[in-house]
Amino acid sequence: MADLAQADIGHHDEHESTGIDNRKLGMWVFLSSEFLFFGALISNYLLFKGRDFGYTTIFPIELYDIPFTSISSFVLLMSSLTMVLAHDAWSTGDQNRTRTWLLATAMLGMVFIGGQVFEFTEFVLEGMTLTSNPAASAFFFLTGFHGAHVFLGIVMLLSLYGISRRSEGLTEKQGLNLELVGLYWHFVDIIWIVIFTIVYLIP
């Protein structure tokens, strides 16, 4: 009897046993699985990049334009900055600034994608396609999936931007979504940090 008297009379069970919001915890759990996803793609590249079968087709490493890719990398890094500024603006209640920084992040993301598209087109024109050799396949797969992740991120950012343009702006609940999209965006950025180093820079 005593136990039942103490028991929680069930309203919306808001108490989270860890104190971390469900969706936030969910996003971090998801991101930790993404390591396994990108790890496989990176490993593929590492495996194939040095395989010399006496190919007549071009290898990725012969085509890299480091200055160009460095600028792309810089753009993506800066988009992480604008992302975090967007979240900061929201947390201080400045809906206008939030919108601005959100849009900026999306646009920097689009510049990055544009750069990737340009780079891939150049490679294809110089004779390296998805099917030229396993290293090329692995390269396009890795950067392609990364780009797809960026693309999805842009979709989410623009959705948030759209929602933020309503009269009430980004509400409390939407604010959490902003943080979650931010986490996803930063993760995609750190994967690029790894890719840029391992794929492009390491000889």
Partner: protein
């Protein structure tokens, strides 16, 4: 008195009802989702079983002509794929879904609509995979690869459940059946990945007050370990499946050895997933057994902490042994030695669990009800399967065993004698909680013994058939080999199993209609789900429980005397009556997650998308692909913006007609009052 909330105007009004056909399509209730998983999984069990029987007819005599080689390949591939991905995994999901919130004292999982989407993606993925029997081709559109036309029976995935490259690649698997396989598995994997995130957050965040990690039932622990295994292994096979699909559809060169690709890479990636996968298959059953044995021995689980940590250790170590599936694939001696050792090591935590289970039964007052019979059967059969498994760990021995029926014997002992026996144990154990009725104990026992005999007759001979040289995955064996008689015995055993399943199905159907009422706690059990009325009310707990100990419910009912024997407390019956009363008549309004159309629509979208990818070279292929993608994206947008309506349950009656639809027996006046 189901819903009173006023609808908010959106494009599609958010559904409200908790009864009827549409309530199942739109449900976000973990119990309904669990039930749907269960029935669909069982349907695929029958499919996989029929495939097995067909295989066994072919193999019952040497050099049989019942099946062609092409049909045989399709049958064994689909048998394995079905049993692993469409039966055992979803059946485990059925248990997780139904029981997890109940066992931790929660009202639902962390993300109810995501939970629903997992189910619908699974269902549509299964339908998609099986539709290859209708639409799949084993040769290019302009003409069959094989000399003769392949029948419908042979027109499904035929590269084994493991789809080794380059056999599964574009050069050697022309036609579409392997595309169905790769994409089907991709879709199914997605469903499980989403579930795994859901369960992890649920276990970490939604435990009742006082339920610390070390007070959670072992079943919940095993669910958590499985969720982590899924979380980390599914992305690996996702990449592998993307790669094989790209090799087939786009001409990439990952697995094309002549172009510098690496077929062994496929094996590594597949088994990096595939080995954790088999622990995903067995751990839920181990969790079930860890609940059943204590209840029917009237003793607490021996060494709870050891069982929990052993389970976690098995999960962890399961990631380190994958290349033991590749001992004869040409990996280096160092690799073989390392993985052989690791494989032997994994027997240790497994052994710990076995000894703890035996310790649980030892000295207990054992009742041999059907759930207990199946759990005891699990322990015995799993030990046999585990022993043959340890022999595989000895690398030179494995070179002899691999690709023979000795391996088939091993994994059927652990997966059938282990996992499936465990699942049946759970089905009988929780039948009363699910339906409010008790099953027929006589039929249950007959089911067990017929299945036990049939199972051993079917799989024990495979040990010596294999060691005598009978090769796997081959549709005939030579007359001179002398393997005929034992193969016939195996076939008889397989059909015996089939008979036992018919008995089970009859018992289930009959008892649901005619079984006696079971009451809240028919087994005098230990965990929180037994503090709820049977069948479980839609809102689970009338009042959220507060937990003060492991096996909290048992502690409320029993104390121990000086000899350590349980002594029923004086007020135990009073407590039980109060729990039932609060369960049926919650003192305060309860908020439930509202239903939604969107998870179902996402499932449809994924289904359409998959066909678009398979047929992307046809003129209607890309449009279909885009349509599917748009449906998925659109659904997620709709999902994101739909209002969070909530159903208010103020009064509830027990579900007397046992159809678990949240309403008591049909009452015309009540129906009219419903909006």
């Amino acid at each position: 008195m189901a819903t009173t909330a006023a609808p908010i105007k959106t494009i599609f009004r958010r559904p409200e009802s908790s009864t009827g056909f549409w309530s199942w399509i739109t449900t976000a209730d973990h119990k309904k989702i669990g039930i749907m998983y269960g029935y669909v999984a069982f349907f695929f069990f029958i499919m996989g079983g029929i495939e097995a029987l067909v295989l066994r007819i072919q193999l019952s005599v040497p050099e049989n002509t019942f099946l062609t080689a092409a049909e045989y390949n399709a049958m064994f591939t689909m048998h394995g794929t079905t049993m692993v991905f469409l039966f055992v995994m979803p059946a485990s999901a059925a248990f997780f879904n139904y029981l997890l919130p109940l066992m931790i004292g929660a009202r639902d999982v962390a993300f109810p609509r995501m939970n629903a989407v997992s189910f619908w993606i699974f269902l549509f993925g299964g339908i998609f995979l099986y539709s290859s029997f209708l639409f799949g081709t084993t040769g290019p559109p302009e003409g069959g690869y094989l000399a003769e036309e392949v029948s419908r029976l042979g027109s499904s995935a035929n590269g084994g459940w493991f789809g080794y490259a380059p056999n599964s690649g574009a050069q050697f698997s022309t036609g579409t059946v392997m595309d169905y396989w790769a994409l089907g598995l991709q879709v199914l994997g997605l469903a499980s990945l989403i579930s795994s995130i859901n369960f992890i957050v649920t276990v970490f965040n939604m435990r009742a007050k006082g339920m610390t990690f070390l007070r959670m039932p072992v079943f919940v622990w095993m669910t958590t370990v499985v969720a982590f295994l899924l979380l980390f292994s599914l992305p690996i096979i996702a990449v592998a499946l993307f790669m094989i699909t790209a090799d087939r559809q786009l001409g990439t060169l990952f697995f094309d050895a002549s172009a510098g690709g690496d077929p062994i890479l496929w094996q590594h990636l597949f088994w990096l997933f595939g080995h954790p996968e088999v622990y995903i298959l067995i751990l839920p059953a181990m969790g079930i057994v860890s609940e059943v044995l204590p209840t029917f021995s009237r003793k607490p689980l021996f060494g709870y902490a050891a069982v929990v940590f052993a389970g976690a250790a098995i999960g962890f170590m399961g990631f380190g042994v994958w290349a033991h599936h590749m001992f004869s694939s040409g990996v280096t001696p160092i690799t073989q030695a390392a993985f052989g050792l690791a494989t032997m090591a994994i027997a240790i935590p497994t052994g710990i669990k076995i000894f703890n289970w035996i310790g649980t039964i030892w000295g207990g007052r054992v009742r041999l009800n059907t759930p207990m019979l199946f759990s005891l059967g699990f322990v015995a059969m799993f030990v046999i399967g585990g022993l043959s498994g340890v022999t595989h760990a000895i690398v030179p021995a494995d070179w002899q065993q691999t690709d023979t029926y000795y391996i088939v014997a091993h994994f059927h002992y652990v997966l059938f004698g282990g996992a499936i026996f465990g699942l049946f144990s759970g089905l009988y154990y929780w039948f009363p909680k699910l339906t409010g009725k008790m099953y027929s104990e006589a039929l249950g026992k007959i089911h067990f013994w017929v299945m036990f005999i049939g199972f051993n007759l079917a799989f024990a001979p495979m040990h010596w058939l294999g060691l005598n040289g009978m090769v796997r995955r081959t549709w005939v064996y030579a007359e001179e080999a002398g393997l005929g008689p034992w193969n016939m015995a195996v076939t008889v055993g397989a059909f015996t199993i089939a008979v036992s399943i018919l008995i089970f199905m009859f018992n289930w159907w009959w008892s649901r209609r005619n079984g006696p009422e079971s009451g809240m706690d028919p087994w005098d059990a230990r965990t929180l789900e037994w503090t709820l009325p049977s069948p479980t009310p839609e809102y689970n707990f009338g009042v959220s429980p507060v937990v003060t100990a492991l096996d909290d419910f048992w502690e409320k009912k029993y104390t121990t005397d000086d000899d350590g024997r349980p002594v029923r407390r004086e007020n135990a019956d009073l407590i039980i009556a109060e729990l039932e009363e609060t369960g049926l008549n919650p003192p305060a309004p309860i908020h439930l997650p509202a239903p939604s159309y969107y998870p179902f629509i996402v499932g449809v979208g994924v289904f359409v998308l998959a066909y678009g990818i398979v047929y992307n070279t046809r003129p209607w292929g890309i449009p279909l692909l885009l349509a599917g993608a748009l449906i998925v994206i659109g659904s997620f947008v709709g999902w994101g913006v739909e209002p969070l309506e909530e159903i208010h349950e103020e009064h509830h009656e027990p579900d007397h007609d046992g159809n678990n639809d949240g309403e008591p027996a049909a009452d015309p006046t009540k129906k009219a009052a419903d909006g």
